[in-house]
Symmetry: C2
Subunit: 337 residues, 2 copies
DNA sequence: ATGAAAGCGCTAACAA
DNA sequence: TTGTTAGCGCTTTCAT
């Protein structure tokens, strides 16, 4: 493997000093046009690609953002990865990916953040998850600019982009309560882009407002596995009075519930109405098609990257916790909504 | 932001030279135990994290692998990302992700590979896609060790991990031909972990062997969009004789076809049998559940990373193009298979 | 407008 | 076993 062309080679080829080459590749405007052209030509001739690692060392910046996500959240965020990737590319940042869970590490997040620190990433994107708090504590400790996706939080070095989960819970619930329906079940998925605790609170708030109480036994937590969730739901239907409304934390679980209903002869939306979350392909695949709360997934990813870079460039940030708009997409799994 | 602790700080704190500190953090075994302990303690006390960027510059290695994927392949490969992530972590490699498509670049892959070169990634993982050839040509030009996922190919600096798509096509087809059924339709998804051209060849080969011909009009190419694909299939069923067997390049498209059948009153598996590919959640969600060709997705990702690292460490590689085993998982969408 | 030289934090000969 | 020193390829003052 022959050695790569360096800035010295270019300097020699163009008969200038390496400082001038550096100026040219960094777009400094003090270089005389003739010189610049000569350098540019040499760069092209030698097919010179500036070494980002060396640049990183010299500038103490890696122009790299670390993206840390639980592997299990992955399928749900493909569009978000799109938003992150596109935006990173546009802004000339590299994106290093770190997956958590799966591997039986004792402290995956801790381990990962240590790697991030070593890699000298300029910033990090964290997803809402169980142990997000510990993650934030660590990035704070290391002074690492952080963007959180899926949970409202902000701090000196922390921005976030999220959807107002509490409002979602409240709105959906209120719609039904207003029509005298309070027989609601909340299916809490294991983890998500939505802060399901807030959503839960929103439901409760609507109940309180109506002078009622949303009991804790109206919440069921499920597996990420479709088949497992499906079985759980089937069992639930066998052993409980069929609820009138189901609010599910993610479309996939909603589909599992729909199928369980189908098998138990529960008619949707006549006997039971169900609402999913995220508005993914699952919602469209489902029969009947799923009413779902649409989330601007791609944009959330893009905003996260943009926020990080703003922090890095010390640009003005008017809002450190950006709330993205959600919309309810009504399909065939509801009728009273 | 106070300056980060460097190897000098540690050296001073432990009262040794920086070389010794370097030895300790690199696990050299020439350091005397007492000294090592002193250094280790200083490292802990100062919370020193070795700067990978500087190390990269010094060693001319970044211990980074670039993972380049079309965004649209994403949902299909979440487990693969798991395999890549876990393996990378185990082997202490960072993974930089580059998404292609979506953005209206003229030459996404070219642009991306240029970035990869600048980042000085030690190697790159490429996914099977339309323009993979150009990608390979570029990585070859830059002498970048490359692992390809989803297509058999190998070269001096190129390894690959794939499934034998031709065999899959052949096997499935032969099973039906042997039973006198030759009314087969091939639904070619837009892109995939499987080389669908090879699969197509496999189907043809089985036909030839049976003294028949698999006509080109028995192939339909579809959109990645579920709804779009679904509509196309519905139209197809309206305007063509219903085929007896459908082989789909990916589960999602298979599900779309299943639903179109359902709406048109085509009974599965009695009137039509259908086989999906990958064995994803879609296969389980489908009603009837989908017979699908299971692919060891996670392992393919893991193998890809392992191969790259082997090339990088100049370890012995017995097979530069690794064929992974597929298995047909029979469910309810077939009966004669 | 350009060049010389120091330094970013580390590794790896080579010496001691 | 440990220390000294010369790079790795670039940016960035400071001179000129």
């Amino acid at each position: 493997m022959k050695k790569k062309t360096t800035i010295y080679d270019v300097a020699e080829e163009a008969d200038v000093s390496l400082a001038t080459v550096s100026r040219v590749i960094n777009g400094s405007n003090v270089v005389k046009k003739a010189t610049r052209d000569r350098v540019l030509e040499a760069i092209k001739r030698l097919d010179f690609k500036p070494n980002q690692v060396a640049r990183g060392l010299a500038t103490s910046k890696s122009t790299t953002i670390a993206v840390v996500f639980p592997q299990s959240i992955f399928a749900r965020v493909k569009d978000m990865i799109g938003g992150i990737g596109d935006t990173g590319r546009t802004l000339d940042y590299s994106l290093t990916m770190y997956t958590t869970d799966e591997l039986g590490d004792s402290n995956p997040l801790e381990d990962v953040i240590e790697r991030v620190v070593k890699s000298r990433a300029d910033g990090v994107i964290l997803f809402n998850s169980q142990d997000i708090e510990k993650g934030l504590q660590l990035t704070k400790q290391y002074n690492l600019p952080t963007a959180v996706i899926g949970q409202k939080t902000s701090d000196d070095n922390v921005c976030s982009v999220y959807v107002d989960a509490k409002a979602i819970g409240y709105e959906l619930t209120k719609k039904y309560l207003d029509q005298g329906i309070d027989d609601i079940l909340f299916v809490k998925a294991r983890q998500n882009l939505i802060d399901l605790n807030s959503l839960h609170e929103g439901i409760k708030a609507a109940f309180v407002e109506a002078g009622k109480t949303f009991e804790d036994d109206r919440v069921i937590t499920t597996s990420n596995e479709f088949e497992q969730a499906h079985n759980d739901f089937a069992k639930y239907l066998d052993s409980h009075k069929t609820p009138r409304v189901v609010i599910a934390g993610y479309d996939k679980e909603a589909v599992a519930f729909v199928q369980a209903c189908d098998e138990k002869g529960v008619k949707i939306p006549d006997d039971l109405e169900i609402i999913g979350m995220v508005d993914s392909t699952y919602a469209i695949i489902s029969r009947p098609k799923l009413t779902s709360v649409h989330l601007p997934i791609y944009d959330m990813g893009a905003v996260a990257v943009r926020m990080i870079t703003k922090m890095l460039n010390e640009e003005e940030i008017d809002e450190r916790a950006v709330c993205m708009k959600h919309t309810v997409v009504k399909r065939d799994s509801t009728k009273l909504l």
